[in-house]
Amino acid sequence: MRFALLLLAIFAAGSTAAQTTYPSRPVTIVVPFSPGTGIDILARTLGERFNARWGVPLVVENKPGASGNIGAESAMQAAADGYTLLMTATSFATNVALAKRLPYDPQKSFAPVALVATGTLALVVAPTSPARTIKEFVELVRTKPGVLNYASTGNGTVQHLTMELLKQALGIELVHVPYKANAGAITDVAGGHVEAMITPVHTAGPLVKQNRLRMLAVLSAERSPVFPSVPTLKEAGFPDLEVEVWYAMLAPAGTPQPVVARLNSEVQEILDSNEVRDALAKQGLSPVGGSPERLAELLRTELARWPRVVAKAGIKAD
């Protein structure tokens, strides 16, 4: 009898917990990639700040696999009470273009919370390459179609797809050499084994500064503050291609509006702090923030864009 009462009390306590102010217990953010990756570090950075502001821990749960699909699926299935969140990146949109079937619906399974940060992509070439500007590069490749190589972090990754997009826009042919991780890819470009690759500005940064890599162009609207001498594609006279790596926070669909709003404003405040801006800048990321609608808008554009690239380039996955 007493046991039954105890059980009842626990149930009651559990259900009232939902009504107290959010957050009243630890929040989990699912990161669908392994620890140590850029997105993971970003999530942990946010987590540390949330912790300090709320007094309640934000725990990072790494659920890597299938380019982020496993983590996404797991977050989608969680209760939409604001205690489980998902951190995601550009691959969220590119996966849709590649997979035949997804365990989730990118538009409907999730509620956008905030666009956290973006990173600029750049085109880099090996130090041994004769091309010193983007124009020379394009000419070089046009004279040797299908001979020169480019590296990427794997089939279907943003770097791969962006290069395909670039190839389509510039009308050039390069052979794809996929790698498992950014480290290997960029090392081999620096070593001259592969001619070029698309990579985030901050990853290439240290190597470019040592002249072990040459940055030919940035794929953004404006020049990168870290490398002011590198032109944008538009400035160099080529079709304006803007591809950014973006990182965002999502919540399962149906999470109550006030919770989403609260999270969004917290993220905004965290991103406004100097320490975080600084840390992000050093990683080559620009903090964004903005309303959930802004994120929703980005998702819409991205989800429209990538399937076209994939179809045209004939890329398949599974």
Binding site: P35, G36, E48, K63, E73, V175, Y179, K180, L207
Partner: protein, 499 residues
Amino acid sequence: MEILNNLALGFSIALTPQVLAYAFIGCLFGTLVGMLPGVGPLTGISLLLPVTYGLNPTIAIVMLAGVYYGAMYGGSTTSILMRIPGEAASVMTCIDGYAMTQKGRAGPALAIAAIGSFIAGTVSVVGLMLLAPPIAAVALKFGPPEYAALLTLGLLVLAYLSSGSTLKMLLMALVGLLVGLVGIDQMSGFARFTWNVPELADGVGVVPVAVGLFGISEIMLSARSAGALKVQKPRLADLVPSREEMRASAAPILRGTLIGFLIGVVPGSAHIISSFVSYALEKKISKHPERFGHGAVEGVAGPESANNSATSGAFIPLLALGIPSGAVPAVMLAALMIHGISPGPQLMQSRPDIFWGFIASMYVGNVVLLILNLPMVGVFVSLLRIPYAYLYAFILALCLLGVYSTNQSTVDVWIAIGFGVLGYFLRKLEFDTAPLVLGVILAPMLELAIRQSLAMSGGDWSIFAKRPIAGTMLALVAALVIYNLLSRGWRTRVGLEEK
């Protein structure tokens, strides 16, 4: 000498109480993390990273490096005491380390692992210090073809790992290679052997395989006699390695250090195979190869040293060039950049305090870990006093915990259980399971390297011969294979004849 001056500068920074305290915390944390099967230095470093934001760069880096080293040390503890590999690199230590434990020599095994790791760590830090820039330049020359050649050499190592019939070993290796190929193919995007299980898309994972094959199967084999197993009552004298053991370990430690360092320098994840290569080498040059697998201390000293020096070796491309050679150095790179440090040759000039402070702290970290671990040997060994009947329950729970936490995935645990059952039968049938694990590790890397090379050359296989480093290594491999085939022992080894 300028280096001594710089070192003095480094030590003056590293030996301040604050830095030491953080180094200690990092090492402790790392050891704890390393002891947990599956959860490795990557997780540990990522966990502490945000905590370091407010700290000054030297302290932050020192603490994180401490985690890395600590994890290496911690991994050997569970390997030796319970035959559970903390991560892929500790697999070889399980074999002879656990055998030593069963013979009552757990203390010496742990001690030698710690001492070997310390010596290796220290020597390789010195190597790092002196040779960083030139080695880094050579490391850059390693492209996919060279990588493929190196891994092929690793495959050859398999041949030396077998303690029984070569054919059986071949079988194990093939199974391992096949298992390693499960997952989405990097180049074409096709899913192989994944049977629509999304968790398998990235491959089977070495940790569940190793933990299951070694740890869980061991328990299945020993549980029956749990009641009858005599409880170990180690005396103090048993904790210290005997003079012979020390003498026998000396050379393997040095060889292991060298091997680990060279392999670790190569950018990429090849450093995992350093412990395998060391084990194979020790077995090959030993006068009593049959002792391996039954508690040969060389089988612990070599691999453990190789492990640790590979760790330092892996930092060279990072510090000298700013190129991360694997997932862990990549996080360290992120950490460095967050603290405003751009590693590379100018680091030595522009921020000598950081560079040399880091080097000094790696040395200090090794000392801290030695101090932490040696007395703990007594504590750990006394764990063995617990009757096995109790112990194995906890070990199983530990395996469950460790394998799950790596990827928050129950699929991994199922894999571990499956391989546990497989391991059970394999050992009953007297198959040596180590080649299987090596196969799982090598397969994806080797296949990718070969296909990348072919992509680079446009399908031309001669790329392997045309490039000097790759060509030389492959010639070496070919020579070794031919030598082995021609030597008299061939027919007996393949099992076509009795000895």
